[in-house]
Symmetry: C2
Subunit: 201 residues, 2 copies
DNA sequence: GTCTTCATGTGTGCAGTGTAAACTTTTTCT
DNA sequence: AGAAAAAGTTTACACTGCACACATGAAGAC
């Protein structure tokens, strides 16, 4: 090295993959999905237009990594205010409200997390993060009784019921499909009938 | 005109807007959303690349029209096997199953119908079709009791509950988020607790 | 009947995109 | 030290949405 300025930009970035993800995340949340391009991420990080190819096989791979990161964050939202609570009711409410809060705070990312043909749904890392979120919901779902069938299918129905309800609520909320005043005042806990909850346990 | 072949393609298409929508619909369902381009629609119809601009201000306008068409079709799915039934229980079940069947038959279109930044959510025609679907669900939702509050907010909660549940179920199903065997066997009616339904009325 | 108007086509051009390929610069491994 | 690999660069190409100028033909005005 010809000992030019000591702080010249190094040829290798050092942590380009993470930097690209961070830039992509910011672009997604500020400009929206349709304005997110690999080239914009690259120039935002200060690197050539094709450098991302060394870290992501294609654009779908980057979006998949972004979605996986989203699920990890969703899990954190659900666990926040939830883990330290001893009361099962409090933990359940905190997790459900955390789920919806995440979707409201990051609507574009949340939509990406369920987009069928933008993320590659067979990615191992993605599915691991999905599973981590599902574990929390599956645990909570045990509070909801009154389904028929053998124990295994009852568990499955509880889980499907709860996830469908909270995901549907979150997406309809962020997609502005709830418009009436009476709707905007109702949170996720308000639309779960009390009679459905087996409070004890 | 030099009286060439009598059946040459006329300069004006005659019904280009509908033809473009049909082509776009086919492209969406066969190639997927990411491979849908205005140019491909144009060439599929046999028209120049920029002809669509005369009928759609931009790509979002075409996608919005496609989504509106999707809501109209969703309504038809819900009304099929539903309108002629006198029994309220039968009509409710037919409508819910029709909703899910539509999402399964047209997953790419269904996803588009809730995509925040691909369709312009302030389109009047789109919102009219959304409203038509919502009316059906709102009617059905009257069967679900046990919410608290004044009558208006109880109605709102019923509607939000039902739409969230069925939309969440439909999307999680088409996005392959239900993976366990016990889940794949459960339909939308199976995950609605019987105790929630006020059968009479 | 001609003329004018205008909706609806076509062609060209441009900035921007994802991705492939060949090359260059570092780091790392032996 | 030298080879190999990792991680950058430049160049190239097909494709996209869209703006703009122009061509065509149908429909109403006179």
């Amino acid at each position: 090295m010809k000992t030019k300025a000591k702080d010249t930009k190094p040829y290798h970035h050092g942590n380009l993959r993470d930097a690209l993800l961070t830039a992509a995340r910011r672009l997604l949340e500020t400009e929206g999905h349709s304005d997110l391009s690999l080239r914009k991420c690259a120039t935002a990080v200060g690197v050539s237009a094709t450098a991302p190819q060394n870290h992501f096989a294609n654009k779908a791979a980057l979006l998949t990594a972004l979605a996986a990161q989203g699920y990890a964050e969703l899990e954190a939202y659900m666990r926040r205010n939830s883990n330290e609570a001893a009361d099962r009711n409090v933990r359940r409410q905190a997790a459900l409200q955390g789920y919806v809060a995440f979707a409201q705070d990051h609507p574009a990312l949340y939509e990406l997390m369920f987009a069928r043909d933008r993320v590659s749904s067979n990615d191992a890392d993605l599915m691991r993060q999905v599973g981590a979120c599902f574990v929390i919901l599956a645990d909570i779902s045990k509070d909801f009784g009154q389904f028929e069938g053998d124990p295994a299918s009852v568990d499955a129905k509880r889980q499907m019921f709860l996830w469908s309800l909270v995901h549907g609520y979150a997406q309809l909320l962020t997609a502005n499909r709830f418009k009436k005043d009476a709707m905007l005042g109702a949170g996720i806990l308000d639309i779960i009938p009390d009679m459905l909850i087996e409070s004890g346990r």
